[in-house]
Amino acid sequence: MFETFILLLDSTVRLSTPLLLACLAGLYSERAGIVDIGLEGKMLGAAFGAGAVGYLSGNAWVGLMAGIGVSVGLALIHGFASITNRGNQIVSGVAINFLAAGLTALLGQSWFNQGGRTPTLSQGGRFQNIELPFAEALRDVPVIGPIYSELLSGHNILVYAAFAAVPLTWWVLFRTRFGLRLRAVGENPAAVDTAGISVVWLRYRAVIVCGMLCGLAGSYLSIAQSAGFIVNMTAGKGFIALAALIFAKWRPGYAMFACLLFGFLDALAIRLQGQELPGIGEIPVQFFQALPYILTVILLAGFIGKAVPPKAAGVPYLKERT
């Protein structure tokens, strides 16, 4: 039983990693006042970039760089439309999603001729799982053994990076000058401007950080979790990450727990499928597949408290004398 639970948590970690990275990406962007509905598209673009370059180069790191590059490129398009040209951020974000969905399938088809999919990556083109030191030796120690060797050890480097990004994000946002200014520009850009700091440059930096994190999230999907890009492989994860961001009230720590919860529900649905529960019997598969959505609705409706977005989120900043 205990071991089953550990394996369930292990699967939770794998499934929540892309959500967490995308959620933190959205956090930077929205905290700076740029609503980002294009997380999904950026992840998809990154997954394709990483998958394609990872396959061609046979090197996971080169693939990762390509993934981040594509994602930052898309983020800059979003930035150009919504910061420089003060366009509607929702429309621009939706455009990014469409652009990524169409372009990845088209380029994938014309480059690899496999219906938009990249060929299966070689071992070198993927991030391998890392065994932490002493994981094998500690495996048989009760309680700590399984926790250490199953749950903590044996993930790929992007998983560790995602969880390390949580305290890092907290530190950057709440303990550095850059973070203070970034939050201020999302609440009251006029005050930041009055202090002689460029609103535009700050917001661009936030959008670039968002692109980098989305790049990690997308690359995780195609070159760490699976071995290649598949058409529309993000399957709505960007939107779930966006929901998690609201659910977490735009705070890094809460974001981690929200993503872990959603990942846990996903893992639970997979594990409990077709298994008898003591006293209840077998629960239909459909129930477990719907459970994450049901719980999200319940949680959002009743127990979340009040989610207050950054005050200037979605509002383009216009200097008075221009």
């Binding site: 794998r14 219906g115 938009g116 299966t120 999907l221 979790q225 699976s226 598969v285």
Partner: protein, 332 residues
């Protein structure tokens, strides 16, 4: 005016010549969701059509669906452009074929995996349970833990038919064996979700399974990947997938959709077209298991002998493999 008339007459003669030259057929294939390069079901259909092209030089048209609403539209487009015969791949095409075939009674249609009862439709179904029984035996013989897994795509009777035959085959070898069954989902997206397929396979490995059979289209790529990553064995489906991860794919349950497509094209070309009902099982070579250099080391002489015997017994009727779709129930 006269000149114009002459010109149009000449044009119509030329047109007539062109159509006489192309008295050959204009075949078309409509793939199911998952796309023609799913390395599995649709790819088998694609390779059949491709082989026909190479053998005869007759071009075919094909279309890959992006969503369910395109089925009818695509079929009607083919029919309107004079494509004949039109082969629809997958059980989900049934409603669309039924509708469009009635609208174009002079066009020949074929549907794989489903029965449409119209005078101009050839329905081709396979005895997947027989092939699944054979790979089930292989799985049970290769398993060291006595536990094996099955990952299905969309939860539909057709896929349960695979699962049930597989289970019967496993139990025939080892009556104490445990078979874990998982379905990926209940919508068309379940054919194209390798990440979920991989997670399902991992969950079965965690419970002790060491061989996993998938019947899940492109989702199965993730299943086989997970098996290869974990050092376990996978079993492919529809196409020969042994080469995807040489040494980690025990075998593949081959469903000769390629033969069905090729046959349909060829019959139309030779004016041998027959409509009606076609069932392809082990006896007809419609289903089989794959043995090639990629999995030769995994299959022992003993296993070969056992499945060869079972195959003969199924063909002779000595072993009856239960067909889930006959009573919507799996007795095992």
């Amino acid at each position: 005016m006269k000149k114009l008339f002459a010109m149009s007459a000449a044009a119509s003669v030329m047109l007539a010549c062109a159509s006489a030259l192309a008295a050959d057929i204009q075949p078309a294939v409509l793939y199911d969701l998952g796309g023609k390069f799913d390395k599995s079901f649709n790819e088998a259909a694609h390779s059949g059509a491709q082989r026909f092209l190479e053998d005869t030089g007759i071009e075919y048209r094909d279309f890959e669906l992006q969503n369910d609403s395109q089925r009818e539209q695509a079929l009607r487009n083919f029919a309107r452009r004079g494509m004949n015969p039109i082969v629809a791949i997958g059980f989900s095409q049934a409603n669309a074929v039924e509708k469009v075939a009635a609208e174009y009674p002079d066009t020949q249609f074929a549907i794989v995996d489903m029965v449409v009862d119209l005078p101009n439709v050839r329905s081709i179904v396979f005895k997947e349970h027989e092939g699944s029984y054979i790979v089930g035996m292989l799985a049970a013989m290769a398993s060291e833990t006595g536990k094996v897994g099955f990952v299905g795509g969309m939860d539909i009777p057709l896929i349960r038919k695979f699962a049930c035959g597989y289970k019967q085959g496993v139990l025939a070898v080892n009556a104490d064996a445990e078979v874990f069954q998982n379905m990926t989902g209940t919508t068309g997206a379940a054919w194209n979700d390798p990440v979920k397929g991989g997670e399902l396979a991992k969950s079965q490995f965690d419970r002790g399974a060491d061989v996993v059979y998938h019947a899940a289209g492109a989702t199965g790529i993730g299943v086989l990947q997970a098996a290869a990553d974990a050092g376990k064995l996978g079993i492919g489906v529809d196409s020969n997938q042994n080469g995807l991860h040489p040494g980690s794919v025990l075998s593949s349950m081959i469903k000769r959709v390629d033969v069905a497509v090729y046959q349909a094209f060829d019959d139309a070309k030779n004016d041998n077209w027959t409509s009606g009902f076609e069932v392809l099982g082990l006896a007809e070579g419609g289903v089989d298991w794959a043995l090639d250099e990629n999995n030769a080391a995994l299959v022992t002489e003993e296993m070969k002998a056992a499945v060869a015997q079972a195959k003969n017994q199924i063909i002779s009727g000595e072993i009856v493999v239960h067909d889930y779709m006959s009573d919507q129930n799996c007795p095992f």
